[in-house]
């Protein structure tokens, strides 16, 4: 079955809900089978599919109506009569009717699409057993760091001492295994987990078993669970996979289980899906001060998060007094898992939802306005009906039926549009929005669309009804259809315009603030030049590259070959690609300063690079020098993670001294007013490291994050098994990716060369969520402005037309034409100003809520408010201009004679 057919089938199943449930139960399977056949025959061409849906939908609507209201057939019940009357009345003014339906379909469709996404990402419970009891526990450091990964000394103690949790487990994202021996080498997203993690999540494997507590022990961890996708993609869904041995980075692991298809937790860097889970199986408690664990837990039934939090507070305080050297001042914070997963996208989605709902409301105001105009024009008709004896209730039913016709047409169109919009959104959205791919037009979305349709139908039906209540039969019949002599007050229509303007200002200001933030972000100097740089990930398996020297040799060899490729001007390697997801921070001690109290040590981020790194990324060296090949050491690595860790072999032979290059912020913060070159510092249990140079600050974590103190180590002193090669070339596309692969495979044919992309793609990729949000909200703002222009125009020209007689009289009595124009414009501007005044408060409230989305723009930014108020005022002027000119040209003689 093609994707079209699967989507179509899903939609058809949903649509079957239109039938009464007894009918559905009896015939559902047969009808879907029949639909499947027709769908397969139609194939994939869009014209054939369109024809298919046209016939299917018309068949569906007609027969569903028949099944729902069988007794009405033949005997023409009141409901059918009302529907038929309403349909006639709507089609009598087809242009207006089509416009109203289109407007409704657009608003309902986009609102439903965004709702479906919000529902899938934010509202629907996580697909785990008892998701409400799942929490994440972070290390907390005072007020400023609320979410730190958990240290090796903390997690085992938390687990042993706490009583609030039925289970606790940990995840580490510090390995990236290569799968070899089954086709092309493949780099896997490979979280390491404790057996407790699998129990917390309530995993039931589709094959085999989960890890046992015994497999958490050091040396017992050569087992793996694989994802459904990997099992199908690489092992042909072979049921005999259990107990088979696979090679992960050259080491044998025995597969013990296959995960169910919907288990894709935890998401890897950039929201990728995990391929293989292996046990952590190491003495975690020895890794003191190494913050590398993400802790999940399941609350015991009946316990609240607050209760668990207060217990964890006490435990963390205990650990801080027992192990002050690594824990002083560190707390713990217990948070609901679902909230943590959507932390980054929640405000963006809610702002989007707010914007689309506002546009929906603006659309509704416009439609209501149109229908009011229509109702006004029909007052004569209504008056005649009342005079002939139609009960007001009867007329009300009639009007509601008309609203119903709009609701059904607009709602159906909206649902179809929403299905399409969701498909588009899920295919173009960035991968790191959790659970976005599960968004589809489901029962909840359809219920939402139906509710919105019914509410708007009621609104549209009731608005003319309010008008109808005031029909003064005798007066109407007397005056005929011409405009009234007295100026007509239309309080409802004027109020609608004010509301519309206010809502538009809210959307426009939100868009303005986002656009400004985005613009500032685009103009931030990242500190490095991403243009023309290509990045390639390499992961060296420890079986063949066990010795640190062999890892360094491989990287040197690869870089030398790549530098020889045509067009390449510089090639370097680093452990963390700039603005990628990798980051490492470490406590440091500055020589010459008193030893800091535990918990108050200076912190700095660090990155490991090769000599050409600064040249390849265009990072200027401001003082001292960069690295050279001569900086390589025999005794590696420099950083030891705990005091008992043995010194590396060869640490006592004469060799190059440990060196580092620091960024400006680190120089300024830790050596204020002095030249840092030649100064020394330590990182955890490293030997003293000498600063040899200062480089310009880079925004290595994200464009929006200010640079932090950071130092660079040489790969020759701190070897890495996982590196990213960064290659600057005159042309980044063309033959370069192939050349890079060939260069690496010339040294080692079994190495996966994955993820070849440009550094610009990485930088832009990080902005894509923000870019998407900004362009969508801006788009909504434009739609809102257009709708409001139409709304103001409609109301002003209508009221002006109603005042034609009055204007004629004024002109006849000697009023200047300029005054007439002025009067009309003032009328429009007055409404607009009232709307702007009402909208400013709402705009500020929304901006305040979403202030974390803004970058260097205040939610109250006066420029934005002033500029967009001016824009709204300007479009109001444009909208009143035409009616004003028409009023100005009124010929008093004609008008007075006609009356």
């Amino acid at each position: 079955m093609s994707a079209h057919e699967i989507r179509g089938m899903r939609l058809y199943r949903q649509l079957l809900r239109l039938y009464p449930s007894a009918f559905r139960r009896r015939f559902e399977t047969e009808m879907t089978a029949m639909f499947a056949e027709a769908s397969a025959t139609a194939g994939t061409s869009s014209s054939a599919r369109l024809a298919l849906w046209r016939t299917v939908l018309s068949d569906l609507v007609r027969s569903a109506w028949r099944e729902r209201f069988p007794e009405r057939i033949g005997g023409m019940g009141e409901l059918a009569y009302d529907a038929r009357q309403a349909w006639r009345s709507v089609t009598r003014a087809p242009l207006l009717g089509a416009f109203v339906v289109l407007l409704m379909a657009l608003s309902i469709g986009s609102t439903t699409a965004i709702f479906s996404i919000v529902n899938a990402v934010l509202l629907r419970p996580l697909p785990f057993a008892d998701p409400d009891r799942l929490v994440m526990i972070w290390e907390r450091r005072g007020a400023e760091v609320a979410r730190n990964p958990v240290g090796g000394h903390e997690y085992p103690e938390w687990q042993a001492r706490s009583g609030s949790f039925a289970e606790m487990g940990a995840v580490a994202f510090d390995r990236e295994y290569n799968l070899t021996g089954t086709g092309e080498p493949l780099t896997l997203v490979s979280p390491r987990v404790t057996s407790g993690f699998l129990r917390v999540m309530g995993v039931t494997p589709q094959l085999g078993r989960i890890f046992t507590p015994d497999e958490d022990q050091p040396g017992r961890g050569r087992v793996a669970m694989i994802s459904d996708a990997l099992w199908r993609g690489r092992f042909n869904a072979d049921p005999a996979i259990v107990n088979r041995t696979i090679l992960l980075s050259g080491e044998p692991f025995s597969v013990v289980g296959v995960m169910p298809p919907d288990f894709q937790f935890p998401p890897g860097p950039g929201g990728t899906r995990p391929d293989v889970w292996t046990p952590i199986a190491e003495p975690i408690h020895l890794y003191r001060g190494r913050h590398y664990l993400f802790v999940v837990a399941r609350l015991k039934p009946g316990l609240t998060i607050e209760a668990a939090q207060s217990e964890m507070d006490a435990i963390a305080a205990g650990i801080a007094t027992e192990l002050p050297s690594v824990s002083k001042g560190h707390g713990a914070s217990v948070r609901p898992l679902h909230g943590e997963l959507v932390l980054d996208v929640r405000p963006a989605l809610l702002v989007l939802f707010a914007a689309v709902v506002l546009v929906l409301l603006i659309g509704c105001c416009n439609v209501a306005n149109l229908l009011l105009a229509r109702a006004a024009a029909r007052q004569q008709e209504m008056a005649v009906r009342v005079a002939l004896g139609a009960g007001r209730l009867r007329l009300a039913r009639q009007l509601l039926a008309e609203g119903g016709v709009f609701a059904i047409c607009g709602g159906t169109g909206g649902a179809l549009l929403a299905a399409w919009l969701i498909a588009v959104a899920t295919s173009i959205a960035p991968g790191d929005v959790p659970r976005l791919q599960t968004a589809h037009l489901d029962g909840a979305s359809l219920a939402f669309a139906a509710t919105v349709s019914i509410l708007t139908a009621l609104l549209f039906g009731l608005v003319p009804l309010a008008q109808l209540a005031r029909v003064q039969v005798a007066e109407r019949l007397k005056h005929g259809s011409k405009g009234s002599v007295r100026p007509v007050r239309q309080p409802l229509r004027r109020a609608l315009v004010i509301v519309e303007v206010a809502l538009t200002l809210i959307v426009a200001v939100s868009a303005g603030l986002l656009l400004q933030s985005f613009n500032r972000l685009l103009h931030v100097d990242p500190g490095f030049n991403a243009g023309g740089v290509t990045a390639v990930d390499l992961s060296l398996p420890s079986t063949r590259y066990r010795a640190a020297a062999s890892q360094s040799r491989f990287v040197e060899d690869a870089l030398a070959r790549i530098e020889g490729l045509p067009g390449v001007t510089a090639a370097a390697a680093t452990n963390f690609v700039p603005q990628g997801s990798g980051y490492s921070g470490i406590p440091i001690g500055i020589e010459g300063r008193p030893i800091a109290e535990p918990g108050e040590e200076a912190m700095a981020g660090y990155r490991v690079v090769t000599p050409q790194y600064f040249e390849a990324l265009g990072i200027p060296i401001l003082a001292g020098r960069g690295f050279t090949p001569q900086d390589a050491r025999v005794a590696v690595p420099l950083i030891r993670w705990f005091a008992q860790q043995p010194q590396p072999t060869g640490f006592d032979v004469p060799q190059a001294p440990p060196v580092a290059v620091v960024n400006q912020t680190m120089a300024r913060q830790y050596w204020p007013g002095v030249d840092p070159v030649g100064r020394r510092f330590t990182a955890l249990f490293s030997p003293a490291i000498t600063v040899i140079g200062v480089v310009k600050d880079s925004r290595n974590r994200a464009l929006a994050e200010r640079p932090e103190p950071e130092f660079y180590l040489s790969l020759g002193q701190e070897p890495q098994s996982k590196v990213t090669l960064l290659v600057r070339a005159r042309e980044s596309g063309g033959a370069l990716p192939a050349g890079l692969r060939a260069s690496i495979w010339a040294i080692d044919r079994d190495l996966p060369v994955s993820n070849v992309r440009t550094l610009e793609d990485i930088v832009n990729g990080n902005l894509s969520l923000f870019r998407g949000l900004t362009s969508l909200v801006s788009g909504f703002a434009v739609i809102a402005l257009v709708l409001t222009t139409l709304g103001i125009y409609a109301v002003i020209s209508y009221t002006t037309a109603q005042r034609t007689y009055e204007i004629g009289v004024r002109l006849a009595l000697g009023a200047q034409r300029r005054d007439i124009r002025h009067m009309v414009v003032v009328n429009g501007i007055g409404l607009t100003l009232a709307g702007i005044a009402a909208g400013i408060g709402g705009a500020y409230a929304l901006a305040r809520y979403a202030s974390q989305l803004l970058y260097e723009v205040q939610p109250s930014d006066p420029f934005t408010y002033a500029a967009l108020s001016t824009v709204v005022l300007a479009i109001a002027m444009v909208a009143t201009w035409l009616p004003a000119r028409r009023a100005q040209r009124v010929d008093p003689v004609t008008v007075l004679r006609n009356e």
Partner: protein, 103 residues
């Protein structure tokens, strides 16, 4: 008798069929002029079952057919109704032929 009723009965008068089979048969013997959508088809089948003009044979067990398919058979009553209807139609047809020829 609506067009859908007539054609479904006509189709079942030939052989027992499942829903999809009826739709395909009707499409074939009307040269594609009448295409029954799933809603119309099963809505009509439901009413025919209720009126006792056709009966539900359930899904055939054991053979290679899709188990989701259920077969329907025309009842004796259905056959009589169809005969009455077609006789009526035949006389209409006769009148139509004579009058169209003379005009």
């Amino acid at each position: 008798m609506t067009a859908a009723v007539l054609h479904i009965l006509l189709s079942l008068a030939g052989d027992d069929r499942h829903g999809l089979g009826i739709a395909a048969d009707v499409k074939a013997f009307t040269n594609g002029r009448l295409s029954l959508g799933p809603g119309t088809l099963y809505g009509t089948i439901k009413r025919l079952l209720e009126a006792g003009l056709i009966e539900d044979l359930g899904s055939p067990s054991g053979d290679e057919d899709d188990p989701r398919r259920r077969y329907y058979r025309i009842t004796a009553r259905g056959r009589r109704a169809l005969e009455a209807e077609t006789e009526g139609l035949a006389s209409v047809l006769g009148v139509a032929r004579r009058r169209l020829k003379t005009s």
